[in-house]
Point group: none
Chain length 215, copies 4
DNA sequence: GATGAATGAGGATTCATTCAT
DNA sequence: AATGAATGAATCCTCATTCAT
């Protein structure tokens, strides 16, 4: 967020003639920083995270971090987008089939994602959003715009479609689209923090939720 | 949490003969500390909270805090119970009527609580649990034992009752009791962090959820 | 400047009833800080001075400094007034005698001050003013208002008196009051930095200057 | 100052046979470095000056500076001579006329220089000398040997001449040669730091001083 | 020669904790 | 019991210096 070192504008035009370290090396280092920062912030939260911790994880010196991000806060802001990449993007991208009911469509596209959602540190992300969202509005904002609202809109859209087609459940889903993703949150909360040793089956809950809504 | 400074076992036995502050005064001061600490930790999270901040809120000197809790961590641990007091306790305490369906029972006892849940800083509590639960297992543990499990058990119990009585929805609720409280979490997450300016009506979502489950 | 711990408003009213360290102790510590900071800044200049250096000189921990001044810059600003206390104050305070010529008056009141000016670290002060005045306008400003202008005004005033009385030298002094203090500056520069091992006799130069101006 | 990277002894001897940059190029780069360093040090003082700042001003990379000077301190020492170039050199070089009084000689040769002295950043130089002279004796030393003493000796020499010729003012000038340059210092101090917005007319003060000394 | 990414020691500042009063 | 000045370890950040390209 503001510290991008201006890559991107070199395409054809022959071999780069730069002195010193290659842009590739720089990009790799930057990636290391981002990677390490993500891990550190997800592990520790913003306040408890230390630049030294990030540096250690990245295998770099502390000072190096400041070549890429001017402050700890900027580093945090800079990785927010990387942290909240929408896990449902691929699901949203798939179109509904002509004959397919909305229920079947959700079952086909969303259930697999829900099942996978845990393995990839989603609980940690949720934790960070909830923990720091109040003090770093940008975090909540990015999450809202990139993940939360798109998903809810996606659901609303298909709720409308269900109504149009006369499929049951459309009405209730249009009124309370959040009900569909509610199981996701209890699941992440339970599995990530409350009782990781007795995890809930988010996929199963989601399917049950689908069954309930669509009769 | 092992930090109580040993009051408590002195009650009758004639008029107290000691100089200095009365036990009442001490208890009052302790209450101030706990109160202030709760506010500070809920506001700031563990790391960002400061002992100075707690002292300021309590209207006490920093040193005084250490008369009641030996470390910041102990203070945090010491107030966990106060933080997570079960907001559903009264609801759980009410018995189901002989003629009452489980659905009606939940509607009668839980909906009002759900509606009130937001006003009393519940989102802040949720935030704290999620944020610090991983690093302070005791926090997650207390929450699990005092709030989460009791509520889920309560739901399970009445799901069994619904089955026994042949009321619809019992089966699904028995298999997925968390579904009933799922709206609570999306609601708190949305209203507390994601989009406080466009709050979800948790009560309405909960009722909708009840309707779905119990037909 | 801004961190004064509010002494001053306690006069009669019986013994102070404060808990904790006495105000006297606090005042003494503050004095230590100021003293040490003065020495450090005069020795090292602003940039090269370190808070650790100040703490060491004061015999205090680093953190303690921050109880009295919130930043290094504030500490610097806070001692500027102490640093530039007008060394000529007593001289200016003495009134000219009814029969006394202005030349004699200056000889009586200023020469002793000039002779003493070196011993009391005045060169170090001048050095600091010149060195940091550009980057810390407040420093130059305080020096100008507290020392430089008062002295020049004092000279101008008595130049006018000399003119009124028909004493020689008044005219030239009125036109160039700075000429009278010029020897002070070459002297301080020479003795403080250029050739401390071959100091100029500022008193003698000043007297010679007086002789020249007043014939 | 012992930092020259060993150019200089290669001149005739046929066409140079080396690859890479010519000695001219090197010399030019070195000049850029010196120029930039002077500006940076005069602006910021030694401690606050940064190698990055010098590099930026020079339009070079940081690493390049180290090809010419091994350390920041060496760079500073290396430019001291450039910083303190004697502004009075030309004046001192001019011989006194056979019929010319010493007073007239000084008026002819020194006044113009004095009038010009302000425009060329002399205050900055004085500031640097005073600020860093104590910690970088070489700075004071060079200034003393290149500027201060030559000028004072020049004055002494002509004071002796004035005495020999029976011109008035010779005695006093011989005893206090620094009196003649005193106005210069108050002037630079006032105009450079104390009150740049109300500058003193150094030329006028110097002339007045000449008038006083030579009757 | 020139570059600038990488380094890490050093400096300002914060804050949990102690202790004399 | 209560105070708050004092402490110093820990943290963020800067910058002189190095070195692979």
């Amino acid at each position: 967020m503001g510290t991008d070192s201006g890559q991107g504008a070199r395409a054809s035009a022959g071999p780069a003639r730069r002195r010193g370290p290659s842009p590739e090396k720089t990009a790799r280092t930057r990636a290391q920083v981002v990677q390490a920062a993500m891990a550190e912030f997800l592990d520790q939260g913003y306040s408890a995270a230390t630049m030294a911790g990030v540096a250690r994880r990245a295998g770099l010196a502390k000072g190096t971090l400041y070549l890429y991000f001017p402050t700890k806060e900027a580093l945090f802001a800079g990785i927010v987008r990387d942290i909240v990449t929408n896990p449902l993007q691929e699901a949203e991208a798939q179109a509904i089939g002509a004959e397919e009911t909305v229920a079947d469509y959700f079952r086909r596209t969303l259930v697999p994602v829900m099942r996978r959602i845990e393995s990839s540190g989603r609980a940690a992300v949720a934790r960070l959003i909830l923990a720091e969202g109040a003090r770093f509005p940008v975090l909540a904002e990015v999450y809202r715009e990139e993940v939360f609202h798109p998903l809810v809109d996606h659901i609303r859209l298909h709720a409308a479609r269900a109504i149009a087609r006369g499929e049951p459940g459309g009405e209730i889903l249009a009124r309370h689209p959040h009900l569909l993703i509610a199981p996701l949150w209890v699941g992440m909360v339970n599995n990530g923090v409350i009782a990781p040793d007795r995890p809930l089956d988010i996929g199963a809950m989601f399917e049950a939720s689908l069954d309930l809504i669509f009769r």
